[in-house]
Symmetry: C2
Subunit: 163 residues, 2 copies
Amino acid sequence: MGLREPLEDVATCGLPVALEAIGERWSFLILRGALNGLRHFEEFQSTLGIARNILANRLGRLVEHGILARTPMPDDRRKIEYRLTQKGSELCPAMIAMRTWGEKWGNGVPSTPVLVDARDEQPIAGVAVLAHDGRALQLEDLCWKHAHDIRPLEMPVQDVRAA
Amino acid sequence: MGLREPLEDVATCGLPVALEAIGERWSFLILRGALNGLRHFEEFQSTLGIARNILANRLGRLVEHGILARTPMPDDRRKIEYRLTQKGSELCPAMIAMRTWGEKWGNGVPSTPVLVDARDEQPIAGVAVLAHDGRALQLEDLCWKHAHDIRPLEMPVQDVRAA
DNA sequence: TATATTAAGTTTCTAGTTGCAACCTAAAAC
DNA sequence: GTTTTAGGTTGCAACTAGAAACTTAATATA
């Protein structure tokens, strides 16, 4: 692959940060597996069909980035449990967004298993970009602005001087 | 890389479909560039600092996948315009989700430019998973179910027999 | 018309990465 | 104590990424 530069400096942006951690196909699939309940090396290996050395490498990388936590099981210390951290779990919306897109634009793949709302067990509608007040925004409603061009919302009367 | 299998069959899921198209760091960054208004080869090249052959390869791949449209400009036919298609634009939520995650969990990167709501020019809140009725769901509210275990919502009276 | 310049790719070549298969190591089971 | 199991390493061939130089076609300039 040639040398891999940190890539962070490609304009200030959170995206390169995320890519550094999971910007690679197996990382995504391992993450998807973890969100689906996979916990152990052999589970990932047999479910995903990934080569063992690559799996070891990616699991290690995800652990390094604090996305997975690595714990030997107390009852059988050969067994290692890889579990999503809070940081890792919060990649869920990104994963779902990609999955939903792939489902819509791919060749009619009806993804399984289905992600449902625990309350009524109905499939989710998808992912949306939310405005500061919670409204779901359409793509046409979005635009880019430089940070210094943004004027803070006028608050009722309070002087909020904290960041 | 050895041989690259289609990867589609890693359980039925839209995610591999998406990864096939953009599951690679430069593709994401090119896409981000496009969402930010980049249109031409040299713009991408100088902004992202990507090697020219890789850029050509990725642009071609994105065009093949119908994510970018490739059009020579009428006034200067050397110039090629790469523009997001509808399919490509709809990757925006996925990109934003990753960016937002990177912003939160990275080393305090304040991403620039900022994505704002066009109506009030306020920065967006983030990305959320929506339930079928439009409520924003928390991660704890989500769970996986097999398709055949899902019972359709009882509709008023209509007998909906279509898939 | 002849000569630069520019936009968008190719080509070449090196070095690092991936993938597969086989091997290793420590803990548990028999 | 031998076997099995979980989670890795190692070695090697094939492939890919990246930098820089080269190509090609369309415009601009002299």
